[in-house]
Symmetry: C2
Subunit: 278 residues, 2 copies
């Protein structure tokens, strides 16, 4: 496994790489969810291509400086996990390499990114799009794997790929959960023991609510399920069209019930898909 | 020479192309200035690569619908010129292919694009960046050639390439002029005979003014030279730092004296470079 931080060195590796090259972009603090992405990437290269992992805590997608500062960083353990998983190249750039002073060009998304995580985190998805496109350009990857847990991020990235004709195939990987149902997230390690014990409530509440038969009933049930917690504070709770991410008027099309909740200053997200009713 | 309009067909050509592939992005209505770009492209491929020309009147970079509607379109003649010049592939997409309905992702530049042509044409350079990046992605080109005449466009594109790590080398080609000094432009054919006869005044005024010894003297001279015309109306006239495109405070650094003038509804641009005074 090669670990590379500099742009010139990366460029040399990119020119010489075997294809297909599958990129798994991450912000580090790798857990079993990321390793599922890596395993999917390994299956896609079919023993001829290469799996690359990028580890970069992207400052421009954080709206709260405290969240950026508190984001877990575990680079030594991350590299061991990548090595054990058979990753070919790990790209670990510095912030100063990724963002020149006086930078003035960004990628902006003006539709899918305005609700849900985007409403509460202005600039977040523009920051995601910008860094993902930079990583695509820097690595020259053919395929990139993203977790379905961040379903809005996936929708925004797919839109970017379509609208900018980005020559990268986007593959999604199902959410990996702890045995008690909590979606794996790098932020989970920051939960207090009490909050950690309560947090599976989020997925339970969404899954139970998804069985209701009307938009109002789904939302009421989910809200009640979450608010029964002595700790969880709802950041958003929405039932949106799976395609447009606009609020659902009915349950006649594929929908997504999505929520973000705060446990103290730790923000967790989760969602369930709801298929159209007969 | 292959002429291609569809994305799938282009993708197949892109995969099979010889390298380096040099792209000359144009809006058609090709003239001697464009052919200079093509000749430069030919010299860059050194008999092993391919020269591609794109012809696409990009609607999202026009701020005035009348300007878009009036933009000259001479596709038959364009293709003949390309064929004669030894171009390998001409890409002529339809608007509906380039811009999906409901598109929501664009590239935005927030510094270099705010003055000069950008001040008078809001959204223009975001439209340029977006289409150029799309063309880079669609063609997979290694090098792209642009005319130095559109020096602000060149500066904005170079900034995009830097800030988004676009793996394309940008090469610039000197402005080609008519014998009387008028910079070649697809818009020149729309000038009335009287306006055409007067138009070389723009370059003369800028060149004369560039010999003055202070910022104020340069700007006064240029303004007087242009306003002596019975037809020309100044859209902007600015002396800017060659690097930042911000207004010059002195003549101690490389600068650009740039103007846009209207002859009727035809807008012409030109500029001269001013080297630092001793």
């Amino acid at each position: 496994m090669i670990t590379v931080g500099e742009q010139d060195e990366l460029r040399a590796l990119s020119i010489a790489k075997a294809r297909p090259c599958v990129l798994v972009p991450t912000m580090g603090a790798l857990h079993e969810g990321h390793m599922a992405l890596v395993r999917m990437a390994k299956s896609l290269v079919r023993d001829v291509g290469e799996v690359w992992v990028s580890i970069f805590v992207n400052p421009i997608q954080f709206d709260r400086p405290a969240d950026l500062a508190a984001y877990p960083r575990t680079i030594e353990a991350d590299l061991e996990l990548c090595e054990a998983a058979g990753v070919d190249v790990v790209f670990t750039p510095q912030v100063s390499m990724m963002y020149a002073s006086g930078r003035s060009v960004t990628v902006t998304e003006t539709s899918l990114s305005k609700r849900l995580c985007g409403a509460a985190r202005p600039g977040h998805f523009d920051g995601v799009c910008t860094v993902v496109l930079k990583l695509f350009h820097l690595t020259g990857c053919d395929i990139a794997v993203f977790g379905e847990k961040d379903f809005q991020q996936l929708a925004v990235i797919r839109r970017m790929v379509r609208d900018l004709n980005v020559p990268v195939e986007i593959v999604e990987c199902p959410t990996v959960r702890e045995p008690d149902g909590l979606a794996m997230s790098s932020r989970n390690v920051r939960l207090t023991p009490e909050h950690r014990a309560d947090a599976p409530r989020l997925h339970r509440a969404l899954s139970t609510a998804a069985k209701e038969q009307s938009v109002d009933a789904v939302l009421l049930s989910a809200r009640a399920g979450i608010e029964a917690s002595p700790f969880a504070k709802i950041d958003y709770l929405e039932l949106v069209d799976a395609e447009t991410l606009q609020p659902c008027m009915g349950l006649d099309k594929p929908a997504v019930l999505a929520a973000a909740v705060f446990y103290g200053d730790v923000r967790l997200i989760d969602h369930v898909r709801i298929m159209p009713r007969e």
